[in-house]
């Protein structure tokens, strides 16, 4: 199982029944493939729809029905469309139960950076700042390291996405929970030891007792 697959399957277990969930573009999108069968989740795409499904068969796409990445989607029974002001009223107003976002860095305080690398890349924040500020639970889904460097850092060196700490960080090595005391190591990936996680992490981690191995959704 590759790193992205591990992350997506672990994040899927964070889904709660009868909840409204937003998945960021890229890795977070993979989570939709692993929704546990007993769980009923509605997905919101911030460009203005709740209740979308997989792309329609080729040739049956509607140019007016797309996800936030501009890709074709379908509408499930009970789908609802709305404008951008309403979409973010839902997001900012605490009506979105969970968002899953990619990340460039998370620091010991649980702050996320995911929208720019000064001097190199300025994609923009899109909806990420509103999502982190407004969603009830913010789950970061990202690889533990990039180009050999830990993305879990003592203090952000990239511009933060929000002052608000995220709820949970899921990587290919570990599940981390930001707390008032710092990042707690909650789980380790299958076959990964606590020592390996600590060695791969630039930020200090709090380890309390036995650290269980991740469960993964099917």
């Amino acid at each position: 199982m590759d790193a992205k697959e591990i992350i997506a399957r672990r994040v899927a277990l964070e889904l709660r029944d009868r909840s409204l969930v937003n998945l960021g573009i890229g890795l977070p999108t993979l989570v939709a493939r692993h929704v546990p069968p007993e769980i009923n989740v509605a997905f919101q795409s911030e460009n203005g729809i709740i209740g979308f499904g997989a792309p329609p068969p080729e040739g049956m796409e509607d140019p007016n029905l797309t996800d936030a990445g501009g890709g074709y989607i379908s509408a499930l029974p009970g789908a609802v469309s709305f404008d951008s002001a309403f979409s973010f009223a839902l997001i900012r107003g605490g009506h979105l139960d969970m968002t899953v976002l990619g990340g460039l860095q998370v620091d010991a305080r649980g702050r996320l950076a995911n929208w720019m690398v000064p001097g190199k890349l300025v994609p923009g924040m899109g909806g990420a700042m509103d999502l982190v500020a407004g969603a009830r639970r913010v789950v970061v889904a990202m690889q533990h390291a990039a180009r050999g460097e830990s993305k879990i850092v003592p203090e952000l060196t990239l511009p933060p996405t929000s002052a608000r700490p995220v709820t949970l960080v899921v990587t290919d090595l570990a599940v981390l929970a930001p707390t008032a005391d710092g990042l707690v190591l909650r789980e380790r990936a299958p076959g990964i030891s606590v020592a390996q996680v600590l060695a791969a992490t630039a930020a200090p981690l709090i380890v309390e007792g036995e650290v269980p191995e991740m469960q993964l959704a099917a």
């Binding site: 509607d62 501009g70 404008d83 951008s84 923009g124 924040m125 899109g126 407004g134 929000s162 002052a163």
Partner: protein, 218 residues
């Protein structure tokens, strides 16, 4: 209050060089492409465009960027358009990044006669720099100022000859909110129907907000 539809070329003449232009669309979906192409054809220059994103090269307002029509873009995201990035780095294009929900709400405030937006989004980030932070009920909010523009260009699904508009699925996005916030509103519908055909409950933008309708290609 019937009005005759105009050509896209005429619409482009009504948008002077240097104008500020609110545009509908999300990754090009819901962007009025006949107006965009007419602006490119007439060689518009110095526009400030305000909307969600600059789409991709060749898509949506991406075409305005490539054709050199745009001096400044106020958007939430430019990551999918390398031309925007290149022109920005080369100093040929000014880019102001605004969180997506804040952008929608600032435009709505401008159109609704409100003095601004008090939002938690952007607190503790560069977005809040230089802005007033106001405490309400024990929580901090950034004061974001309202946005209005000279012109708004909308994509709609159906219009009647009163200018009443409906929108379609995720092509809705910023279109309803920008209809409130410009001195001149130009709508490009997919279809124009006689007055009285669209049920009052289905209209999302009343015709009294719409100054010009662009006809379908003959």
């Amino acid at each position: 209050m019937h009005r005759r539809a105009i050509t896209a070329a005429r619409a482009a003449e009504l948008i002077p060089d240097g104008a500020s232009v609110l545009f509908g669309g999300f990754m090009g979906v819901g962007t009025p492409m006949r107006i965009v192409d007419a602006l490119v054809a007439r060689g518009a220059r110095g526009l400030t465009i305000i909307g969600n994103d600059t789409a991709r090269p060749g898509i949506g307002v991406g075409r305005l960027i490539e054709a050199g029509c745009v001096a400044k873009a106020i958007v939430s995201h430019i990551g999918t358009n390398p031309v925007t990035q290149q022109k920005m780095m080369a100093g040929q294009l000014a880019v102001e990044l605004v969180p997506q929900g804040t952008l929608a709400e600032r435009i709505r405030a401008g159109g609704a006669g409100l003095g601004g937006v008090l939002t938690p989004t952007g607190l503790g980030t560069v977005v809040a720099e230089g802005k007033r932070v106001i405490e309400v009920q024990g929580r901090d909010f950034v004061l974001e100022e309202p946005i209005t523009a000279d012109v708004a260009i909308l994509h709609a699904h159906e219009a009647d000859y009163n200018g009443n508009l409906t929108y379609r699925l995720t092509a809705t996005n910023f279109n309803p909110v920008i209809a409130l916030a410009a001195r001149s509103v130009i709508a490009e519908p997919e279809e124009i129907v006689p007055v009285g055909v669209i049920p009052p409950d289905h209209v999302r933008t009343p015709g009294i907000l719409v100054d010009h309708l662009v006809e379908r290609p003959r």
